[in-house]
């Protein structure tokens, strides 16, 4: 327990001390939130209603997808994991603790957004706080899991950026953050349902914000939690201590299994 607390405390401090992580955890999401609130709120009045869930989902995606994978790849390539292995630090701690500390940073950012958005932008607050927290947790676990998985399977920082952007950019465009899901063509909507952002926005709207969901909001919650847990399980399974001559337990293509809950969700919960 002492080891876990020490590891957690160190990783949490790193999230503030490391300039890149500070940017991804706090500066970028909060800066973007203020920019969007002032600019988009003026241009598109309907954005006001989406401000809190959209900016919370954006913060989660930024801190996880853009913040978690690269440090994992760098640590592996720089021999840090080898040193961890020699000293008995389990792979599950290496993968889960950075995700947990990121979630704690995200909680702080989410509190800032939900507390200030009604004052700054007249944004409506959640009507169901327990469900808001539940969806927040599900989204953080889903995005955290995918991010850790990207860090585990990426052979280099360059590939990490590519894989992360493959989730991040479509989420920004069709994930319901900027453009409501109902405005998407049907085919695009189905593709959008493969993204955690779409599921998160649907669940926030249907369960926490007092608005109408576009498809089953509880289905979205189930999808987010299942995909997140599956992603962590796959990351632990596919983890390698270093990239040089260390056998991986399975092929990296197995990581694509993380899409299964989303595909199943399209058939089961649409």
């Amino acid at each position: 327990m002492n080891a876990f607390i020490n590891h957690f405390a160190f990783e949490f401090r790193t999230g503030i001390r490391n300039k890149t992580l500070l940017l991804m955890n706090y500066l970028f999401p909060l800066g973007f939130y203020l920019l969007m609130g002032f600019v988009l709120g003026g241009i598109n009045p309907t954005f006001r209603e989406d401000t809190i869930p959209a900016m919370v989902v954006f913060a989660i995606m930024t801190a996880t997808l853009l913040g978690i994978p690269d440090p994992l790849v760098n640590a592996r390539e720089n021999g840090i994991f080898r040193s961890y292995k020699i000293n008995g630090i389990p792979s599950i701690s290496i993968l889960v603790i950075p995700a947990l500390t990121t979630m704690l940073h995200l909680l702080i950012v989410a509190v800032v957004i939900t507390a200030t958005a009604p004052l700054l932008f007249d944004a409506p607050q959640p009507v169901n706080w327990p469900n808001f927290i539940l969806v927040f947790a599900g989204t953080a676990i889903a995005c955290g899991g995918i991010s850790v998985l990207i860090g585990v399977v990426s052979p280099s920082s360059r590939m990490t950026v590519m894989w992360s952007q493959l989730v991040f950019l479509p989420s920004m465009v069709v994930g319901g953050l900027m453009l409501p899901y109902r405005m998407l063509p049907e085919a695009a909507g189905k593709i959008a349902q493969l993204l955690p952002a779409t599921q998160a926005m649907n669940a926030f709207n249907g369960l926490a914000m007092g608005r109408t969901a576009d498809f089953s909001p509880w289905g979205s919650v189930i999808t987010l939690f299942t995909s997140g847990l599956l992603a962590f399980a796959l990351a632990v399974y596919l983890f390698s201590w270093d990239s040089r001559n260390t056998a991986r337990r399975g092929h990296t293509a197995l990581a694509l299994l993380v899409l299964l809950p989303y595909v199943a969700g399209i058939f089961l919960f649409s």
Partner: protein
């Protein structure tokens, strides 16, 4: 006779078709400082990393304190300490945090005294990337010994260290040895290996080419002992003068230098020559072949074969 704490039998390590280590066998006694030497690519790192549990062997058997490193990594971690060549720490961690962090996973109290002893007291709150290479090395060593391991693996421990820290590190190694710690030292520094190691093994082309004490190894070479002599009237400056058992001779900085295969008769003949010519001796130095000379001889011959 001390017990073997490390046993390597017919150990083989391959990467695809490349054979990094080819059926080597050796053992290391408890409390011994054992030097592992060899040029780059000889198989040192593969051997060390397999003993540390970082790689699985492709053949043979390895035992460290009775533990199979590949099969029992959890048991192994409390028995061994490893100072990696690259220190293997996150760039934002401070020495204090690293000590807390690693000791917590070993379930021992943090040893901040080691940071003081290794000259890191002023740097305890500095992030790892702000430390100099030498300071990073010292931190790596402090972390490697903090849980009082039975076997300590040191990979180039003095690379990048200043003289004072290097001396401190050597003292620390001797102290650890006197407390019963076995040390496996991989180094390119032959003087360090010769000074510190009880025994050394030289690896070349995936095999052990020689193993023994530094004295034994240096004694088994071509065996040229260097005799350097300086006299008042330079009576030895005539290079036509020949002495018994001298195979080569040269003159450098007022010294006549002879390479002898049998030092006794050579020195006697030189002194007799000086006296006969009414000259007087100013300086006479006898240097046996160093481990470095022997290493170069082995690796040059080995590479040529």
């Amino acid at each position: 006779m001390k017990n073997s704490i490390i046993e390597v039998k017919d150990f083989r390590k391959t990467y695809g078709d490349f054979v990094a280590v080819d059926k080597i066998s050796f053992d290391v006694k408890q409390g011994e400082i054992f030097g592992l030497l060899g040029p780059n690519g000889a198989g040192k790192t593969s051997t060390l990393e397999s003993l540390e549990g970082l790689r699985a062997p492709n053949g043979g058997s390895l035992r460290v304190a009775g533990i199979d490193p590949a099969r029992e990594p959890r048991k192994l971690r409390n028995v061994i300490g490893v100072q990696l060549q690259s220190s293997g720490l996150p760039e934002s961690i401070t020495p204090d945090e690293a000590m807390n962090f690693f000791c917590a996973y070993h379930d021992v109290k943090p040893r901040f005294d080691l940071l003081e002893r290794l000259g890191l007291s002023e740097k305890r709150k500095d992030q790892f990337y702000k430390l100099s290479t030498g300071q990073q090395q010292r931190l790596g060593l402090a972390l490697a010994v903090a849980h009082d391991p039975q076997v300590l693996f040191l990979d180039e421990p003095t690379a990048g260290l200043d003289v004072a820290t290097r001396v401190e590190l050597h003292e620390m190694m001797r102290e650890l040895q006197s407390n019963g710690t076995t040390i496996v030292l991989a180094t390119h520094d032959m003087a360090e290996a010769e000074e510190m190691s009880d025994r050394v093994a030289i690896l070349l082309n995936s095999k052990i080419v020689t193993i023994g004490t530094p004295m034994e190894i240096t004694a088994t070479g071509a065996g040229f002992t260097k005799v350097s002599v300086r006299t008042q009237s330079s009576s030895l400056s005539n290079t036509d003068t020949s002495f018994p058992f001298v195979s080569q001779q040269t003159v450098k900085d007022e010294y006549s230098i002879y390479f002898s295969t049998d030092i006794g008769p050579t020195v006697s003949a030189i002194i007799a020559h000086i006296e006969t010519h009414g000259d007087s001796l100013i300086d006479l130095r006898v240097e046996r072949p160093s481990l470095e000379d022997r290493f170069l001889e082995i690796t040059t011959n080995g590479a040529a074969q």
